[in-house]
């Protein structure tokens, strides 16, 4: 990603595409969008990644988190007339010698997060996916799966609490 940002490296972008495009497609299809539509969104997202790469700050976000947010914005914009409001960009902070350390720490945290997600039960995983894919309200989630609303809400909460516990360990 940094090669894409700093030297507009097309080979690096090609690798990024090969990794993220199929995952994005799988991710977006889960929101109930058709395969063809999902590919349109993937195309927009990957173009945005290329065009906005200057805004990527590895001290603030993992590549996957940054792309997740672009994908969510894109999908929401498609459903609405007006562009989704996003927070003001922060003025670039001067980064000094701890750069590498900070980025490494973020990488490790992301690895642990992925590990934590892979340890969730299938139900918890589905509930968390639906919460973070966001197309569905809690009511709609319960309609879709035929489980009463109360159960679903607590399942999301349980899933998140589980994640939070996993995360606590790596913050301390």
């Amino acid at each position: 990603m940094l090669a894409v940002r700093d030297s507009r490296d097309r080979d690096a972008f090609s690798h990024l595409f090969d990794y993220f495009a199929p995952r994005l497609k799988g991710f977006i299809i889960k929101t109930g969008v058709s395969g063809a539509q999902a590919e349109e969104i993937v195309q927009d997202v990957m173009l945005t990644v290329w065009r906005k790469s200057a805004q990527f700050d590895p001290h603030r976000a993992q590549v996957s988190a940054w792309i997740y947010q672009i994908a969510r914005n894109r999908q929401i914009d498609m459903m609405r007339k007006d562009a989704r409001p996003i927070p003001e960009e922060l003025k670039a902070e001067p980064h000094q010698e701890d750069d590498a350390m900070q980025i490494l720490a973020m990488d490790q945290e992301a690895q642990k997060l992925k590990h934590a997600i892979s340890k969730l039960s299938k139900d918890q995983r589905v509930a968390i996916e639906q919460a973070y894919l966001g197309e569905l309200t809690h009511q709609e989630i319960s309609d879709q799966s035929g489980v009463p609303l109360g159960t679903i809400k607590s399942r999301i909460r349980l899933g998140l609490e589980r994640l939070r516990l996993e995360l606590k360990g790596l913050r301390s």
């Binding site: 097309r10 972008f13 090609s14 595409f17 090969d18 993220f20 495009a21 199929p22 995952r23 994005l24 497609k25 799988g26 991710f27 299809i29 999902a38 590919e39 993937v42 195309q43 990957m46 173009l47 290329w50 065009r51 603030r60 976000a61 993992q62 590549v63 996957s64 988190a65 940054w66 792309i67 997740y68 947010q69 969510r72 914005n73 999908q75 929401i76 609405r80 007006d82 562009a83 989704r84 409001p85 996003i86 927070p87 003001e88 960009e89 945290e109 992301a110 997060l113 992925k114 997600i117 892979s118 968390i128 996916e129 919460a131 973070y132 966001g134 197309e135 569905l136 309200t137 995360l167």
Partner: protein
Amino acid sequence: MTHVQHHIPDAMLKAYASGNISPHFATLVAAHISMCEICRVALGAHEAVGGALLDVTKAVDVSSSLKTDVFSKLDAPFTPKPVFDRSGIYPGPIVQAMKGQEPRWKSLGMGIRQHIISYDKQGSLRLLYIPAGQAVPEHGHNGLELTLVLQGSFSDETGQFGVGDVEVGDEDLAHVPTADAGPPCICLAATDASLRFAGLIPRMLQPIFKI
């Protein structure tokens, strides 16, 4: 900016990250994050969870033309979406919601003014202007009301709210927000349902003022 005491509830940050809240609330959340480093970091945590989910998602093959299409467009000129900067006390997301225009204040009586930014089935987003010492008539809430202070401060039964602070009102809160001494209190308020006024006259005026 560094004195923010009252923040966006975590569940709402998660809903904002996933795009699962109304545009009214989304504007308020984005405005608060423009003013609050703590919530910006908390939002980052939710986006990290979203990113990790994306990372572990099972890949689905994309059609072979997709990559060629994307690469053929890398050099194509494009017009970036307009970016709205902060204007005075209004953070970028509010300026965006007002389409770059100044608020057009309408009097609600007793020196209180409002500017309705948006109003629809999903709720409303408005600016409120309350002179020092003035109180908003006592009311309860049929749903959720988020109030972000942009200038001055106000106090009610639950505490004091200064610039950057967010008060979360729900069905259980009935309050009389009163502007503190100092400059007029200007707030952004987002709701997903109407308010319940205790007094008869405010109740009669409700449909007119779309509160």
